[in-house]
């Protein structure tokens, strides 16, 4: 049996969806409440790390392996940069909030803040993927040593 005892596995199965959802919530509402892309990403990565610890790396790597985390990481960073350039094109300056000026939304609602939710989401993906990649590399090196 890989991973930890069935008590740990059961508890992990129960809490991990909530942790994941909480991470997404923190990242998505970064423009309204304390939090944002970075802490959201850390929480999402924490959920994956918890799964890896409880179920063993084979289970998690089936969902999300090193290659996909590297690709997500780069893509999210490029998306972040694209938002900067789109600000150039539509808003007249690097990182100008062009969505806000065209579509202000209602204050304190989810659809407000213009570019910020998109940027926060990109940061969340980037941070989550890269933190998980760091953890996965460490786990892999351990596996190489054991062989």
């Amino acid at each position: 049996m890989t991973g930890m005892s069935s008590i740990v596995k059961t508890v992990t199965r129960w809490v991990s969806p909530f942790i994941f959802a909480f991470g997404i919530y923190i990242a998505l509402t970064g423009h309204l409440t304390p939090g944002g892309g970075f802490p959201g990403g850390v929480i999402i990565a924490g959920c994956f790390i918890l799964l890896t610890l409880a179920y063993g790396k084979e289970t998690t790597f089936g969902l999300f392996n090193l290659e996909s985390s590297a690709v997500t990481d780069s893509l999210a960073a490029l998306a972040f940069l694209c938002m900067g350039f789109l600000g150039y094109v539509f808003g007249g300056g690097f990182f100008n909030n062009f969505i806000q000026s065209g579509f202000p939304g209602t204050s304190f609602r989810l659809l407000s803040g213009g570019n910020m939710p998109i940027i926060n989401l990109a940061i969340g993906l980037k941070v989550g993927a890269s933190l998980f990649a760091v953890f996965a590399y460490l786990a892999l090196f351990r596996a190489i040593e054991e062989d």
Partner: protein, 501 residues
């Protein structure tokens, strides 16, 4: 246009590893990076001499983040781009046999993005972030060969760099706590109104230690010889040529002169640290047998010259001699430009020597002049420039610094500079005798001797070494060096530029 300097390398830095996940296209990667650095070089030359600020997202300082371009940052941009372009040109041939080039060029681009950011930013916390971007990519690049020695050097560099970063961050936190602003220009206004400056003194001390670790001043230098000699050659050239200057002395000078209005004895401390680095670095270089380690110790010594000149400028401003202070600062900045050219030339040269002989131990190799005359000539130009032999560029910048020291009546400093020049000449004469003259040692790689890809970058830099001496002429000096020196000296001009007061 200013954000492009950071955005382009950042984009390339993330794009190349992404492409590499799907397809390993070495030629495409090199072409990409060459276009990137070439484009940035062109951009920095077009923008040279411009003054202005760029508001990120349209938010005005002191609350928004902004990029500032003045005389000094214009010059630093050209230096970074120029050396990066030549280094890339060299890396295309030199790095051919390596694997994972997408990651190599990606990290290289990220390092560039960080350095451009440090050169342009007008905000101390952003400066810290860019500094970390550049530093962390360089830790990874130092260990790129993945041999035991490289990993050890990289780890040592990582630990020392992290300690330096913590000092800088603590300094920033204290400064922010006492003045309540992160914008450098705004800090300079608020610092002068502060009733009690004890926190400013403390954070200045933390900055000197933190940036001193990044710049490898003498008590904090132990990581540099390992890191700079273990890195792949193009990276050694970037680290010694540009990184320690931008992350170390440029950032420190910008904070001390433009942000903190030269607190108390900071310039004298800087001057004596510079003098110490210069002298001890030179003495340590004398005993080296490994060519790259010798060059690395010589970097410590040459950084000492720059630091000494900048500190001397600060002392002279405090004594109310602005004319001579400008001269001293110009000397320091001139030496920074010169050292960037000849130290990257010498590091790239050491790479080609290693390719020719298969070793860089000075006691084992020799007779380069007969084996490869082009390489010998280029290396001779580099060694003569760095030892300060006229008419090469190193002579002129040392001359300016010595003249400033004598006119400013700082005779002991002038004495140390002259004595260290003699030491520098001594260890480069040792290199001359052992490497260039001497007997050729059998196993020489014929294919490298004729490889144009390795020589063209060296020739470009050698021409720069001769041509940059022209900066000494008053007309050219007035356009290039004087605005850079005045950017540091006239703190109120910087404030006016950023805050529009």
């Amino acid at each position: 246009m200013l954000p492009l300097f950071v955005a382009i390398p950042l984009g390339v830095g993330f794009l190349l590893p992404l492409i590499e996940e799907f397809r390993d296209r070495t030629r495409l990667f090199s072409l990409f990076v060459l276009l990137e650095t070439g484009g940035l070089l062109a951009l920095s030359l077009i923008k040279f001499g411009d003054k202005g600020i760029y508001r990120m997202g349209g938010w005005a300082p002191p609350f928004g983040i902004n990029f500032v371009q003045d005389g000094l940052s214009s010059l630093i941009l050209v230096v970074i781009s120029g050396i990066a372009f030549v280094t890339t040109l060299f890396a295309i041939t030199y790095m051919k046999e390596y694997e994972n080039l997408g990651k190599f060029y990606g990290l290289f681009s990220l390092m560039l993005a960080g350095m451009y950011g440090v050169a342009l930013t007008g905000d101390i916390f952003n400066m810290y972030v860019y500094l970390e971007v550049a530093a962390i990519s360089s830790y990874a690049l130092v260990g790129f060969n993945r041999g035991a020695e490289e990993i050890e050097a990289s780890f040592k560099y990582l630990i020392m760099g992290a300690v330096g970063s913590v000092f800088i961050l603590l300094g920033i936190a204290l400064l922010y706590g006492s003045v309540g602003s992160l914008n450098i220009a705004d800090i300079s206004v608020k610092v002068s109104e502060l009733p009690d400056d004890s926190f400013i003194v403390l954070s200045t001390a933390l900055f000197i230690v933190g940036f001193g670790l990044k710049a490898a001043f003498i008590p904090f230098h132990s990581w540099l010889p390992d890191a700079h000699s273990s890195a792949p050659t193009p990276i050694s050239a970037m680290l010694s040529g540009v990184l320690i200057k931008v992350l170390g002395i440029y950032a420190l000078a910008r904070l001390l002169f433009n942000g903190l209005n030269l607190p108390g004895i900071a310039p004298s401390i800087l001057t004596w640290i510079g003098a110490g680095s210069m002298f001890i670095g030179g003495m340590l270089a004398l005993g080296q047998k490994d060519l790259k380690r010798l060059l690395a110790y010589s970097s410590i010594s040459q950084m000492g010259y720059i630091t000494l000149a900048v500190g001397m400028g600060g002392i002279l401003i405090g004594q109310g001699k602005p004319g001579i202070a400008t001269l001293a600062l110009m000397g320091g900045i001139f030496h920074l430009v010169n050292h960037a050219t000849y130290k990257s030339l010498l590091f790239l040269f050491s790479g080609s020597v290693e390719k020719i002989f298969g070793s860089r131990d000075l006691s084992e190799i020799g007779g380069l002049n007969s084996v490869s005359p082009v390489s010998g000539a280029v290396g001779t130009i580099g060694t003569l420039s760095i030892s300060g032999v006229p008419p090469f560029n190193g002579f002129w910048s040392k001359l300016v610094i010595v003249i400033a020291a004598i006119w400013g009546k700082l005779y002991p400093l002038a004495g140390i500079i002259l004595f260290t020049s003699a030491i520098t000449l001594a260890y480069y004469l040792k290199v001359q005798r052992q490497l260039f003259m001497g007997k050729s040692t059998g196993n020489v790689s014929e294919s490298v001797k004729t490889s144009a890809g390795l020589y063209i970058p060296l020739l470009i830099l050698a021409i720069c070494c001769i041509g940059l001496g022209l900066l000494y002429l008053p007309e050219i000096r007035g356009i290039v060096l004087k605005p850079a020196a005045l950017a540091l000296q006239e703190g109120s001009e910087y404030t006016k530029l950023v805050l529009g007061l």
